[in-house]
Symmetry: C2
Subunit: 257 residues, 2 copies
Amino acid sequence: MSKPLILVTNDDGISAPGIRTLIAVMQEIGTVVVVAPDSPQSAMGHAITINSTLHLNKVSLENAPVTEYSCSGTPVDCVKLAVNEILKQKPDLCVSGVNHGSNSSINVIYSGTMSAAVEAGIEGIPAIGYSLLDYDWNADFETFKPYIKKIALEVLQKGLPDSVVLNVNFPKRKEEELKGIKICRQAKAMWEEKFDKRKTPQGKDYYWLTGEFVNQDKGEDTDEWALENGYISVVPVQFDMTAHHAIQQLNNWNLNN
Amino acid sequence: MSKPLILVTNDDGISAPGIRTLIAVMQEIGTVVVVAPDSPQSAMGHAITINSTLHLNKVSLENAPVTEYSCSGTPVDCVKLAVNEILKQKPDLCVSGVNHGSNSSINVIYSGTMSAAVEAGIEGIPAIGYSLLDYDWNADFETFKPYIKKIALEVLQKGLPDSVVLNVNFPKRKEEELKGIKICRQAKAMWEEKFDKRKTPQGKDYYWLTGEFVNQDKGEDTDEWALENGYISVVPVQFDMTAHHAIQQLNNWNLNN
């Protein structure tokens, strides 16, 4: 089998330690092309750039045979540009991350890291988003290298179900405290926002968004449970957002009378 | 029953004709508070503003008793600020739109309009996103007022299933050509990107994102089918993105050996 072509992206920006770890692992597996934002794009969700121009720059951040581009757009823009402009063939795998911070439960919907993986999935490319529950720029990514590799190899070997991508989160634990990998569902959780209201030097109000994470879900099959208990969580994520179970109920409404 | 409190937002910006139509209809139903972006935020997906400040301005665009705020952030920011800073009570309904352009099928995931509705849903507020398949600034929104009202009243009266919001799309048709309202699933469709590559006056490459919509789904229970055949499509949308059907398959992988 020839070496797989692997597209690497993220949302923390091309120089973040998390993506550098991911690139190092992927180089052990295949031919790596990096297309990542030139600046942090956290919490960009599935945003795309339609009212502005996009810029690509070929860069060289590794002392290694890796093709790298920094992009002025969002993580989703990076995937679209990579697939449609840069790569001559569809990649065998797209990996996004390793994100500095959690993308478990409801965070999947705000996450630029996961949106890049989802975009690859929409384009028919097997895709994995990786995140570490540690916002520190110098977080310990080294511990998780074997797990990153194992999951990527498994996806390359077995493939993923149609229209499904993986959301992998690592707990902030030492190697000896890790209990293994657990397939999970997304916990039902949310952010309770608190806005930090301040005044500009000119006396005008402005706000910073802050908030507190609230997990309302006590299930032991959730990603939140797994992470709290020392497991690496893997949630299969789909982009058919239809609430199929609700269709029958809505059909009983009198919308056409 | 006292008048319901209705939060109105959109992604085309507070002065767009689409939101003006929505405000007019909602005033017939309840007490309206508008918190909408001060500039177009199309295709912002579920982006939130965490690395920058947010600004709110009380504005008055209607000759009517409507409280309105323009916000410097994304549609999701607007909902968060409305719920946590502006409103003294949780609204009975959140409506987003009417979007200038389709949010059917996969567009739901890129759409700022729908992300605002989804955010309201995450916060436990019944929510509806409305879109018209016409990008024209002066599109005919008038035709759809009775349908906007009917669906909103039905949601207020019956409530929505837990963790479900509605994605309503109107076909670009005249009143007499409309066949009614159809409950649908999201069609499996995607955008095939084409990047328009240009050169700056300084000779550097840059790109505009363009693309062609491709519907791979021949099902007659999809939103795309409904819209093509003159129906108003209503898709129940959930924000649990877990591919529950894939969990068993992944459990057969050898991830822990």
